[in-house]
Symmetry: C2
Subunit: 327 residues, 2 copies
DNA sequence: CTGAAAGCGCTTACAG
DNA sequence: CTGAAAGCGCTTACAG
């Protein structure tokens, strides 16, 4: 049997209340000599607090829950780093649950696990919840926030990049470098993120009166394979002279297939990718990227979760373009 | 206020005991009509079970804890996928905690969080615990297992690759292809894994009477930068004709620096890397790898955690060499 | 500075 | 098929 507060109390010749106070470091409730004795005995008995009991009686927990997907792209890492660093500052534990990709059962399971534990807050990272699961989350009396998943609604608090700007800036960048026929690859246009990026792209093109062509937009799910497939579909003599990849991995897929076609990057084809993870730096040529502030999404999201005030306001983290060798 | 079992009981005109039984699906304790009514009311009240209370009274939890490090390499993903898939089969939740790299405080914090929650089992992924923290883990009455971290002790249950064999097989592979001067890069020889791989390397060399040279072994921490640094130190005219990278990232560092030096891979320099993650396939040339069974470590580790029997026996997951373009 | 007592929300023998 | 009651391990007003 594991030692309880009662065992410690008995061994120390004090009440359970006193043990509880000493171990919780409530000040002014006991003499230092009592405290010392209690601590020593607790250690020797191998006492470990029972968090279930504490949470039950205090009606709150020092835990924030993070729901992530098994990464089809690789940026979640940075977001998680940010969450972890910020959580530690506030003395919170982080528990992470996987929810797969578009898997309503897994989403619900992860949500319920967190709700049943009455965590302090829930961060949903790069996942689009189904309507039922969204309702479940909203119905729980728990603060929540979406990271890197902008819904088309101002009522859902999120921290993400401005995807319209991502599409716009990437396109502007290429236009300024002389490109007039620009492809857009592996974006999922069924979700808000993809739609916004396409809108930004089109705005940048039409702003300077450049025509666009549906053939230049190859949809996908942000994956490496989508990038390869898109480039194959552009063919050995692509109509476009520059391509925007929806993720670093997608852009690498484009790059590799282009090389396969003996197309020179960046001379014959420029590539810019969206995300700016370390992958962009380890491939050759290194990829020019629209870099997102993933780490900041993590820290900011965590901070706002704890902030009773502006709980509903959404926020964008800044993006920046990093020029490397692919443009 | 969140609805409790009592609220549901009252609204349904039954006792809390009955509500509890219905919601926990205990069979044979109630009529279907009662059950139906209870369920409907529970839903309409937005009742959610309080896991703290359940765990407190049942003295057990349906959760396994996973301690991981902020990845300096990228293989943990696959291990986690395996853990998740297996856990779901057993209807368990997984909570993951980050413990940084060689950070005793974070290790302890993660361990305590899990121990205080009395989780069903603890998996420690690719982390070398300090002696104190190891004692803490062993002192708790909780099954545990190390994944991808072999300690030099048969008393610690682990699931990992046979690192001696990794070193040996990688070296044999290169020797068979005619290489006689073989480098070993970015291995951390202060830990057991690195030591075993070096031992395997040396065994393979001396088995065929090949001399070795301390200059051929460049230690490191498995990182991309270690790979770059090692290759720089080999120089533009490396003494070796083949290099074994301690991780995919390290090997990519070697590769990129070699290309920088205008060294042709694989013609002038062969590279084989250890891990075999997707990174090996997205760089050009693609890397030949000693591929580890990370996913299986996850599933097997989870299964063994739950298995009351052979809890102390350690196990190796198979490795295989995948030939690609870098050799 | 210290303790007795109530109570957090649930489960489960026990008695019917 | 159903309920009253005890109890899981802790915290915290309340009383001294």
């Amino acid at each position: 049997m594991v030692a309880t507060i009662k065992d410690v109390a008995e061994a120390a010749g004090v009440s359970a209340a006193t043990v509880s106070r000493v171990l919780a470091k409530k000040k002014g409730f006991y003499s230092e000599s009592t405290a010392h004795r209690v601590r020593k005995i607790a250690t020797s008995l191998g006492y470990e607090k029972n968090t279930s009991a504490v949470e039950l009686v205090t009606q709150k927990s020092q835990v924030i829950g993070v729901i992530i997907s098994s990464t089809r792209t690789n940026f979640s890492e940075k977001i998680i780093d940010g969450i972890q660093d910020e959580a530690i500052k506030h003395n919170l534990s982080v528990i992470m649950l996987y929810a797969g990709q578009n898997n309503p059962e897994l989403q619900e399971r992860a949500l319920r696990t967190l709700i049943e534990r009455a965590v302090k807050g829930i961060l949903v990272v790069a996942i689009q919840l189904t309507d039922e699961n969204l309702a479940l989350l909203q119905g729980a009396q728990i603060p929540y926030r979406f990271l890197s998943t902008a819904y088309n609604s101002d009522r859902l608090p999120s921290i993400a990049s401005n995807d319209y700007q991502i599409g716009y800036q990437a396109t502007r960048y290429l236009i300024k470098r002389g490109h007039r026929k620009i492809g857009l690859v592996a974006m999922d246009t069924t979700d808000y993120i993809g739609q916004q990026r396409v809108a930004g792209y089109q705005a940048a093109m039409s702003e300077v009166k450049l025509p666009t062509n549906d053939e230049w937009i190859k949809v996908g799910m942000y994956t490496y394979e989508d990038g390869v497939r898109a480039m194959k579909s552009f063919g050995q003599q692509p109509d476009v002279t520059a391509i925007i990849g929806a993720s670093d991995l997608a852009a690498i897929g484009v790059l590799n297939q282009a090389v396969q076609f003996h197309i020179k990057v960046p001379d014959q084809l420029a590539i810019i990718s969206i995300d700016g993870t370390y992958l962009a730096e380890i491939v050759r040529p290194q990829l020019t990227t629209v870099t997102q502030g993933f780490y900041d999404m993590g820290t900011l999201g965590t901070r706002m979760l704890l902030d009773q005030e502006n709980r509903t306001t959404s926020q964008f983290t800044p993006i920046k373009i990093e020029t490397r060798q692919s443009t």
